[in-house]
């Protein structure tokens, strides 16, 4: 009889211990699931960042591997943390009592089992607790498995996968905003000065259209300087002004050309399309017809000055526009007004001063453009030159006058390898069929010829006018002066 009771006691204790162990395992499993979800979420956050950056930033490692590694590391960390966490059986059974309303029956039984106590009610309590646990599913005690971070982890995984499968260039999505208000103000100030200078010139020469354009330029400069205008709108107004100035420039050029031609013919000089190659004068604004001829008339000089001021203002305007576009405003402005042309060409199809080139090609001297006979660049000390060559209607000039083997409008050839600021030579588009040839300024290759005495004075004047500009650094001014001084002394 006693043995039977003892056997029953042992059975009830063993059953209770088994049930508690089952509950403990289930609780551990829940903890592992929660830990894995939490860890995965934490690991997937940087994985999402990596996947998003993969399309924007050149990474020195495989983005897929890194993202997967991060997620796996997070998951593993969560699992380890869950494994390290202690599942207290006493706490489990207190929870069981709370859920089942058993008035601390199971937790008391656990304490009796653990302490191996022997009392009047000990075995009865353990047996009752075991029976209660047998009738109760562990899920009821532990509650529904809730993994609140699971949907977020899944979302993060989707984001990471999407970022890796469809790389997104964040720079394209979010263009860099440059806080260049001070730079814009500086550009505006410069444009206003140019406009005022041009206005003064136009007023002196009684050039109505030029005066109007110069006033518009000054107003635009004012607006920019006072930050009353958005960069995108400034670009629009710049484009319009550029077109107007280019047109006016062509008109002034056509008016000045006959005078220059007559002056040149009389002096027996050459060059209808003279070129400048002033070091440091990267505006390349040339075509100063008649400058090479001495003793030109006052009318010619006046027209030339007006044209020069126009070209100067135009150059500055384009320079300012390039600066704005370089700051990312150009793309936005173009997106806002897609109808606005990226670059307006002059009516003649060739822009003065090689401005028909796209930014960064030719004008900046990064590359030069080759024509068939680039020999008309006597000042080819520059690393690159662009020549707008007129037709071959001036055979007498000999220099800078070449037959036009290429038809108008035919695409030019871009030659790589130029260095330094570009130099341009400008012909007269109004004379005959002209084409715009772009040549690499290496006169020692081409054997171009131009009498030095003819061009030196012109160069000197160009240099003096260039040196008068404010933006030419003092150091370069000294270099230019020294250059011409040396040339003059040697000759």
């Amino acid at each position: 009889m006693r043995n039977a009771v003892g056997e029953r006691v042992r059975e009830s204790r063993a059953l209770f211990a088994t049930l508690v162990a089952r509950l403990e395992r289930r609780a551990r499993r829940d903890l592992l699931i929660r830990g894995a979800a939490t860890g995965s979420f934490v690991g997937l956050l940087p994985a999402v960042v990596v996947s998003l950056l993969a399309g924007s930033v050149p990474l020195h490692f495989a983005a897929l591997l890194l993202a997967a590694g991060l997620a796996a590391a997070g998951c593993a960390a969560g699992l380890v943390a869950a494994l390290l966490r202690r599942v207290d059986r006493r706490h489990l059974l207190i929870q069981a009592d709370r859920v089942l309303g058993s008035r601390e029956l199971t937790s008391t039984a656990l304490e009796l089992v653990d302490s191996d106590a022997s009392g009047v009610f000990t075995e009865a309590v353990i047996e009752d607790a075991a029976q209660l646990l047998v009738r109760t599913a562990p899920r009821r005690i532990l509650g529904r498995l809730r993994v609140p971070l699971a949907p977020f982890a899944a979302l993060a995984a989707l984001l990471a996968a999407a970022g890796l499968l469809f790389p997104v260039n964040l720079r394209a999505l979010f263009p860099r905003r440059v806080d260049s208000s001070s730079e814009l103000a500086q550009i505006g100030e410069d444009l206003r000065n140019r406009g005022l200078r041009l206005a003064e010139e136009a007023r002196t020469r009684d050039l109505g259209r030029s005066l109007e354009l110069s006033q518009q330029l000054a107003r635009l400069g004012n607006d920019l300087a006072a930050r009353r205008i958005q960069p995108g709108d400034a670009l629009d107004r710049m484009s319009e002004l550029e077109a107007g100035l280019a047109e006016e420039y062509q008109l002034r050029l056509q008016e000045a050309q006959p005078a220059a031609s007559s002056g040149l013919a009389g002096s027996g000089a050459t060059s209808r399309g003279t070129s400048t190659g002033m070091p440091g004068d990267n505006t390349g604004k040339t075509g100063e017809a008649g400058q090479g001829s001495e003793g030109s008339s006052d009318a010619k000089s006046a027209l030339g000055d007006a044209k020069s001021a126009l070209g100067d203002a135009l150059d500055r305007l384009r320079h300012a526009r390039r600066q704005l576009e370089g700051q990312g405003y150009g793309d936005r402005a173009q997106a806002q007004s897609p109808s606005r042309p990226r670059r307006q060409r002059s009516p003649s199809g060739a822009q003065p001063g090689s401005h028909g080139l796209p930014p960064g090609q030719g004008e900046t001297g990064q590359s030069a453009q080759r024509g068939q006979d680039p020999g008309s660049t006597p000042g080819g000390t520059g690393e690159g030159a662009a020549i707008d060559q007129q037709g071959a209607r001036d055979p007498g000039s000999g220099i800078g006058t070449l037959p036009a083997p290429v038809k108008r409008g035919e695409p030019t050839t871009i030659v790589e390898g130029g260095r330094g600021p570009g130099l341009q030579a400008q012909g007269n588009p109004s004379e005959g069929d002209s084409t715009r040839l772009l040549a690499r300024a290496l006169p020692e290759w081409t054997g171009a010829r131009l009498p030095e005495a003819t061009i030196l004075n012109s160069y000197s004047r160009q240099a003096e006018s260039a040196l008068a500009r404010d933006e030419v650094p003092l150091k370069l001014k000294e270099s230019v002066k020294e250059y011409f001084t040396v040339i003059g002394m040697s000759k």
Partner: protein, 344 residues
């Protein structure tokens, strides 16, 4: 008898006691239950209530149903300790030699006082002087009486049921804290409801009511007392009882706001002792084999209310010890952080 059968027997006996007492006492079920808890825990109860609520009747009924010796002491200001515990008296004794030469000798004999009973009703205990009140101290705590250097044990079970009137305070001597602490429970009797009064009238103004049946004898009481102490109580339940007692002490971290403001002294170690033992009895009376948080909560008021002493501000504000204990109960979580929470 199997342990389950023993527990069921104990639970049934208590239920029968309550029903039998309920034949005479209308209402006050909780008070009857708590008095029985005191009885089977070996404690004493202080009943507080206005006159006419049936305190004396309750104790008489208890004596009848338990087949125990009862005595009643009406405490008055001129009551002396000897009137309670007894005294040595000179008793004359004649010699065997009869006739004219016979001598009469006198010797001292201890005359037992009314405290020598199983159930002692100390009616209006606060009307006696402190000296007389303290005469009960040894009997209540040690269940012995010492007179003239001789100690006399009291027959078990021994339970003192004292009453006091809360409204007539003039000419009374409030019980000292030391004596208050020796009471297992302090029970408050409230006014009966209209239905209960109607039932009381019916029972007391109609024909003669028959005597109450005897439900338990001394042996039965002893067995139930033994079972009560065998009821297991988990460690976290015991910790809860301790935390409750500690929370009644001002100046501790566990003290609730009401305790900090209005309590002068909190529960002594006898408080959680009473609480745990009463919880066990409560569980057994309910037919359960182990005590839980609910049993501790159910006994908290009775076990702690006379151990929480209010300060002057509390008295002036009309705060009661029951309010303080309720506040402590509401601010003391049962399991605290002990329960397993997988979400943590």
């Amino acid at each position: 008898m199997d342990v389950r059968e023993q527990a069921a027997w104990a639970s049934g006996a208590v239920r029968a006691l309550r029903e039998e007492i309920g034949r005479t006492i209308v209402g006050h079920e909780e008070v009857v239950h708590d008095v029985l808890v005191c009885l089977f825990c070996g404690g004493h109860a202080l009943l507080e209530g206005v006159p006419g609520l049936g305190k004396t009747t309750l104790i008489k009924c208890l004596g009848q149903v338990l087949d125990l010796v009862t005595s009643r002491i009406q405490f008055t200001p001129d009551l002396m300790p000897a009137d309670i515990i007894g005294t040595n008296v000179l008793v004359p004794e004649e010699t065997q030699a009869a006739g004219a030469g016979a001598e009469t000798r006198r010797f001292v004999r201890f005359q037992k006082g009314p405290v020598f009973a199983n159930i002692v009703l100390a009616d209006e205990i606060n009307r006696a002087t402190p000296k007389t009140q303290s005469a009960l101290l040894e009997a209540m705590q040690e269940q012995t009486v010492t007179v003239g250097g001789t100690t006399y044990p009291l027959d078990p079970p021994f339970i003192v049921l004292a009453t006091q009137n809360p409204i007539e305070m003039e000419g009374t001597y409030p019980l000292p804290e030391a004596q208050l602490d020796r009471f297992f429970f302090k029970l408050a009797l409230g006014y009966p409801s209209a239905e209960e009064i109607s039932s009381i009238i019916d029972r007391t103004t109609a024909g003669q009511q028959g005597p109450l049946s005897r439900i338990l004898d001394g042996e039965g009481i002893r067995r139930i007392k033994g079972l009560v102490r065998e009821v297991p109580l988990a460690a976290h339940v015991r910790e809860f009882a301790i935390r409750l007692a500690l929370a009644t002490r001002p100046g501790t971290d566990a003290a609730a706001d009401l305790v900090s403001r209005f309590v002068r002294y909190g529960a002594s170690p006898r408080g959680p002792q009473s609480l745990v033992l009463a919880a066990k009895a409560n569980a057994l009376f309910d037919g359960r084999l182990n005590a839980g948080f609910d049993d501790v909560r159910a006994m908290a008021r009775q076990a702690l209310r006379h151990r929480v002493l209010l300060n002057f501000e509390g008295e002036a504000e009309g705060i009661t010890a029951e309010q303080v204990i309720d506040d402590v109960l509401s601010h003391t979580p049962a399991t605290g952080a002990a329960a397993f929470r997988g979400e943590d």
